[in-house]
């Protein structure tokens, strides 16, 4: 009864939609954030990859698969690259430029005064060029990049998938009121109840319901995106939760909710911790400083934990596959023999990654609910 009410709450969509929109807003300038994101196209220097790539460069291949890009690379044969070009949306000096990223010809051509930078500190970003040449205009500021990149498209795909699944489940709960769950309901109900029990034990019996929409959205968003990121072919494999902008948005929303829900007791514990001797608070407020750092560290490490876990998992699996090609470059027989062991290890790592996908979603949601609970705790 309560489950159907929970799922039918329109509040869920109202929380999910801002989450999606915020992610898009933060994701698009993601190339501006410095946390190890580089869009490299040097591996695909020309349209026929055959002549250019004699040596397999594992580092470039791995980085190419981890980072965001303005096109979705599907596969490369000996003679051609197959990739889906994605729209580029730039805002500069009040004017909006929209075009497909195929105009850039993988960084070889400039279009409408912009090009993909291939060297220097702006590598991988779209910069302004002087006139019609390929020379970067060093004095011009970077345009605001709101493009639909690979990660944004993956975000849209996964959000559509999540909406389809959950709206259909909500509808079947409404239709089958009083009956046993059937089909998709029966696989999702234990998971939803799992999140509900986790919220109930962290936040308390009377107050947990208002946070359920957010916690459920968070859990299933992270879980589905982790899983979709593990699928090696389109539309999967986009490493969305390994994008620090996405995890930052989720941690930020948790932080905002904790701040707004905090009651007097919570702030008292931060600025005037009971039980701490007075000389730690005045004249030098050491204890409040430490507690304030704790307030900011907690969402920050939420962000880092998810980002690093997922990205590290992808790097490890890509590394095992690259091992085959590295050995193959030395001696083709060696390459074939290593491939057996390498594939076994990659499969094992993939299974571990499935576990990690669930655990990271669980830990993010658990910690969020714990922070909400701690913020609303009454005095003992």
């Amino acid at each position: 009864m309560m489950l159907s009410r929970m799922l039918l709450q329109k509040k869920r969509l109202f929380i999910a939609l801002p989450l999606i929109l915020l992610s898009v807003l933060f994701l698009s300038p993601s190339s501006v954030l410095a946390a190890g994101e580089k869009e490299e196209h040097s591996g695909e220097a020309s349209h026929s990859p055959g002549q250019e790539e004699e040596k397999f460069n594992a580092g470039i291949m791995i980085i190419d698969h981890i980072v965001d890009a303005h096109e979705w690379h599907i596969l490369s044969t000996r003679t051609r690259h197959v990739s889906i070009p994605l729209p580029v949306i730039l805002v500069e000096q009040g004017k909006v430029h929209t075009f497909m990223s195929s105009r850039f010809h993988h960084g070889h051509a400039s279009y409408k005064g912009f090009k993909l930078e291939t060297e220097g500190k702006n590598e991988g970003k779209i910069v302004r060029v002087i006139g019609d040449s390929m020379e970067t205009d060093q004095n011009a500021p970077l345009p605001l990049d709101l493009s639909i990149t690979k990660n944004v498209l993956a975000l849209f795909i996964s959000c559509i998938l999540i909406c389809i699944i959950f709206i259909s489940v909500a509808r079947s709960y409404r239709k089958r009121e009083g009956h046993a769950p059937k089909g998709l309901q029966s696989i999702l109900e234990p998971v939803i109840l799992f999140v509900r029990d986790m919220a109930r034990s962290s936040i308390g019996d009377h107050k947990y319901e208002r946070f359920m929409p957010y916690l459920l959205t968070l859990f299933f968003f992270i879980f589905f995106n982790n899983l979709i990121g593990l699928v090696p072919f389109f539309p999967g494999g986009a490493n969305l939760t390994g994008n620090i902008a996405v995890t930052m948005v989720m941690a930020l929303i948790t932080f905002i909710i904790t701040t707004f829900v905090g009651n007097r007791n919570y702030w008292k514990h931060i600025y005037n911790t009971p039980g701490v001797p007075w000389w730690l608070k005045f004249p030098l407020p050491l204890m409040p400083l430490v507690e304030l750092m704790g307030v900011f560290t907690k969402p920050f490490i939420l962000m880092i934990r998810l980002f690093a876990n997922i990205t590290a998992g992808h790097i490890i699996m890509l590394g095992f596959i690259s091992l085959i090609f590295i050995f193959g470059n030395i001696n083709i027989v060696l390459g074939y023999s290593v491939s057996v062991v390498s594939i076994l290890f990659a499969v094992f790592m993939g299974l571990l990654e499935l576990l990690v996908a669930f655990i990271q979603a669980y830990v993010f949601t658990l910690l969020s609910s714990l922070y909400f609970g701690m913020a609303m705790e009454e005095h003992h």
């Binding site: 946390a35 880092i304 690093a308 830990v363």
Partner: protein
């Protein structure tokens, strides 16, 4: 050559050593995480041996604690990655 140029040259010459430091840091982080999670595992397994009915509860707490410790280890990994790539 001015002092600043010498310092700049010295900093540039030390980049390989900085990368070695990053590698060492990552290894130390792995050791720390390994020891920490090993302690958790030991405590969890011992508790389950003492009281098998509480196995489910202990298992969930163990997973949560392991994820938190891994988070801290990943802090160190991210710092090392920043050293290498930025």
């Amino acid at each position: 050559m001015s002092l600043l140029t010498i310092l700049l040259q010295a900093a540039a010459d030390l980049i390989p050593i900085a990368k070695m430091g990053a590698g060492l840091g990552a290894g130390l982080a792995a050791i720390g995480a390994g020891i920490g999670i090993g302690q958790i595992g030991r405590g969890a397994v011992e508790s389950i041996a003492r009281q098998p009915e509480a196995g489910g509860d202990i298992r969930s707490n163990m997973i949560v604690a392991a994820a938190l410790i891994e988070g801290v280890a990943f802090f160190a990994i991210v710092v090392c990655l920043l050293i290498i790539f930025i």
